[in-house]
C-alpha cells in the first residue's frame, strides 16, 4: 500500500517538475518575443482602429459599476469607435439607478432585462451590437487606459479571433486578496505561455475581446455551468480559432475579500472547468496541438494531484500530531532540555524531500518570473510568503467540493 502511494506521489512529482521545466523552456524561448511585442506596442502605432463594443453585464453591482464604466470612458481609444453597453440583468439593488447617470452619454447605451444569468445579459448585448470587435467587462473590473489599444494591436494578425488581457488584482488589502494577487500574477505569465503554445482555454470575463464573426459563426454565450468564458474559449479551440494574449493590456479586478467568497468563486470555476472539460473531451487529441496533448490533460491531472497530495499531507500531519500526543502523554513537554546539538545525520535526505525541494525551487523561480512580467519588476513581498504557505491548504477546499459536485452532479451557484 505504501509502495503504491509512493509510486503515485513520484508520478505526480515527475509530472509537476516536467511542467515547470516545460514552462521555463517556453519562457526562455519566447523571452525576446515578449520584449519585442512590448516594444512594438509603444513604437508601432495601430494602423486602423476597428469599432468596438464593450458589454457590461451587471447584477447587483451598485458599488463598482460606476468605476468600471468610467475606466472604459478613460480608455485611450477614438471615442467614435467605442460603444459601451451596460446591461442590468434584473438587479435587486440600486444598480439601475446608478447607471442612469450614463444614459445620456453618446457612447453609452443602458438596458434592463429580467434576471437570467450573466450569459443571457451578454447575449442580449451581442444581439444589439454591430461592431467589428466585441468584448465583455465584468462590472467589478477596471481597465487600464491603454488596454484596448494594446489589444487591438494583436488583431492586425488576420488569423487572430480573440485576444485576452492580463488580469490583475485591484488594490489587495487583506491576506486573502494578497494571495490572489500572486495567483493572478501567475495567471498573467501562464496565459502568455499558453498563448505561445496555442493553448488558451479561458477567455476571461474581464475584457477578453472577440471578432464579431466568432459569435456569428459559433453562436453566443452558453450557460456552461456559469463558466461561459471557458466554454467559449474551448468552443473556439474546437473550431481551431486563434486566441492570443496581450500581456501589456492590463485589467484590474476586485478579488473576493473573504475565504467564503473566494471558496464560492473558485468552486464555480473548478466545477465549471471539470464539467466543460467533460463536455469537450474530444479536445484531448493531437489534432488540438499542445492544448490537446499537454495543457488540458495536465490541468485536469493537477486537480487530482492537488487533492491527492494534500490528502497525503493531512494524513501525515495527523500521524505526527498523534505521535506528538503519545509522546506528550507519557513524558510531558521536554521544555527544560532543548537539544541544541546539530547533527547532519538527522537532516531528511530522502529522495522525496530532495525532489520536493527542487520542485519548490522551480515554483519560486517561476513565481518570480511571473511577478516580473506582471509588475515589470522583481519584488519580494509578504504576498509571496502568504501564497507559498497558505495557498496549498486553502485550494483543496474547493477542489474537493468541485470534484464531489461534478461526480454527484450537484449544482454550484454563482453567489
Amino acid at each position: 500500500m505504501i509502495e503504491i502511494s509512493s509510486a503515485i506521489t513520484y508520478v505526480f512529482l515527475f509530472v509537476s517538475l516536467y511542467f515547470e521545466i516545460f514552462l521555463l523552456i517556453t519562457y526562455f524561448e519566447n523571452r525576446a518575443k515578449i520584449k519585442e511585442e512590448s516594444f512594438n506596442l509603444v513604437n508601432n502605432k495601430v494602423k486602423r482602429f476597428p469599432t468596438v463594443t464593450i458589454i457590461i453585464p451587471c447584477w447587483n453591482e451598485e458599488k463598482t459599476v460606476s468605476k468600471t464604466v468610467n475606466s472604459l470612458l478613460n480608455l485611450d481609444y477614438p471615442k467614435d469607435k467605442l460603444s459601451i453597453m451596460i446591461i442590468d440583468d434584473g438587479s435587486t439593488d440600486n444598480t439601475w439607478g446608478i447607471i442612469q447617470k450614463f444614459k445620456n452619454k453618446k457612447q453609452i447605451k443602458v438596458f434592463r432585462k429580467e434576471n437570467g444569468g450573466k450569459y443571457t445579459a451578454l447575449n442580449f448585448g451581442l444581439s444589439k451590437s454591430t461592431s467589428d470587435l466585441i468584448g465583455c467587462l465584468d462590472a467589478d473590473s477596471y481597465v487600464d487606459k491603454d488596454a484596448l489599444k494594446n489589444i487591438v494591436h494583436y488583431f492586425e494578425d488576420k488569423k487572430t479571433m480573440s485576444v485576452t488581457p492580463s488580469v490583475k488584482v485591484w488594490k489587495p488589502k487583506n491576506i486573502i486578496q494578497m494571495i490572489q494577487k500572486v495567483e493572478y500574477d501567475w495567471g498573467v505569465f501562464l496565459r502568455k505561455m499558453f498563448s505561445y503554445l496555442g493553448a488558451i482555454y479561458v477567455t476571461p470575463g474581464p475584457f477578453s475581446i472577440f471578432k464579431k464573426e466568432v459569435f456569428e459563426k459559433l453562436g453566443g454565450y452558453k450557460h456552461a455551468y456559469q463558466t461561459e468564458d471557458m466554454e467559449l474559449a474551448v468552443r473556439m479551440q474546437t473550431n481551431h480559432y486563434k486566441i492570443v494574449n496581450a500581456h501589456d493590456a492590463i485589467v484590474y479586478t476586485v478579488a473576493p475579500d473573504s475565504i467564503n467568497k473566494l471558496y464560492k468563486q473558485r468552486l464555480r470555476w473548478t466545477y465549471g472547468f471539470i464539467k466543460n472539460v467533460m463536455d469537450y473531451k474530444h479536445l484531448f487529441s493531437i489534432k488540438y496541438g499542445n492544448l490537446g496533448i499537454f495543457i488540458l490533460p495536465l490541468a485536469s491531472i493537477s486537480i487530482i494531484s492537488g487533492i491527492y497530495i494534500i490528502t497525503m499531507a493531512i494524513i501525515n500531519l495527523a500521524f505526527r500530531i498523534f505521535d506528538f500526543y503519545t509522546k506528550w502523554s507519557v513524558i510531558g513537554f521536554d521544555i527544560n532540555k532543548p537539544d541544541l546539538n546539530f547533527d547532519w545525520f538527522f537532516i531528511n535526505t530522502s529522495f522525496m524531500t530532495i525532489i520536493s525541494i527542487i520542485s519548490l525551487m522551480g515554483i519560486v523561480a517561476l513565481l518570480f518570473i511571473a511577478r516580473k512580467m506582471a509588475e515589470k519588476r522583481f519584488a519580494f513581498g509578504m504576498d509571496l510568503v502568504y501564497f507559498l504557505t497558505l495557498y496549498a491548504f486553502i485550494s483543496p477546499l474547493w477542489m474537493f467540493k468541485a470534484v464531489y459536485n461534478a461526480i454527484f452532479s450537484v449544482k454550484t451557484y454563482w453567489r
Partner: protein, 234 residues
Amino acid sequence: MDNRKIDWKKYLYTFVITALIFSTAIFLSNYFSQKKLAEIRLIQDTIAIDILSSETQFSLLEELSCKDVTTEILSKELGSLEEKLTYTEKDRGSDDSEIQTLKKYYSLLQIKDYLLMSKISQKCDKTPISIVYFYSNKGDCEDCEKAGYVLTRLRQEYPEVRVYAFDYNLDISALQTLISINKVENNLPALIIGEKVYYGFQSLEDIEDLIPELTELKELKNATSTQATTTKNN
C-alpha cells in the same frame, strides 16, 4: 510559426532534463544514505574497539583492586548509535537488509557491553544501573512506542543508566539465548531491571520506583544544583 504546432523536440528535451533532475535526486539521496550508514558502521566500530579496550582493561585490572574499575570505562556511544539506528530504520523501513545487519551487530555489541558491565559489578560489588528493554516493531506491540519515549527521557535524565534495547524478533542466536536465560516471554514491551522481568508499559515514575538508586541520583543532582545556585547567589 503556427502556435498550434507541436514541438516534439521540446517535449523530449523537457523529459530528458526532468529525468536528469530525478536521477540526480536519486543519486544524492543514495549518496547521503550511504554516508549515514557509513557513519553508523563507524560508530559501531568505535564501540567494538571501546568494548575490546574495556575488556582488556578489565582483564588487566582483574588481579588488582576495584578502585580503578568503574562503569566509566564502558563505551559512551551506545545511546547515540541507538538514536541514529532508530532514525535510519524509520527512514528506510525495518525490512531493509542493511538495517537488519546493522541491528544484529548493534545487538551483539549491546550484549557484550551488558556482560562486561555485569562482570564489573560482580567483581566490585556494585549494583549495576541497567535496563534491558525488549520491543517489537512488527505491529504487535502497542505500547512499545510509548516505552521507547520513556526510556529515551530516562537516558536524558540519568546518563548513568545504561539502557539496552533489543528487537525481540531479531534473528540472532546470542539474543535468543539472552531471552531464554532471562525467560522473557513474548509479551512486550518487557524490561529487565535487576534480575526481574517486568511486562507492559512502565511510566517514568514506575521505573524510578523500581530502581531506588535513581531516587538517590535525583536527590544528589538536586543537592548539587541547589548548592550551585546558593554559591552563585552568595
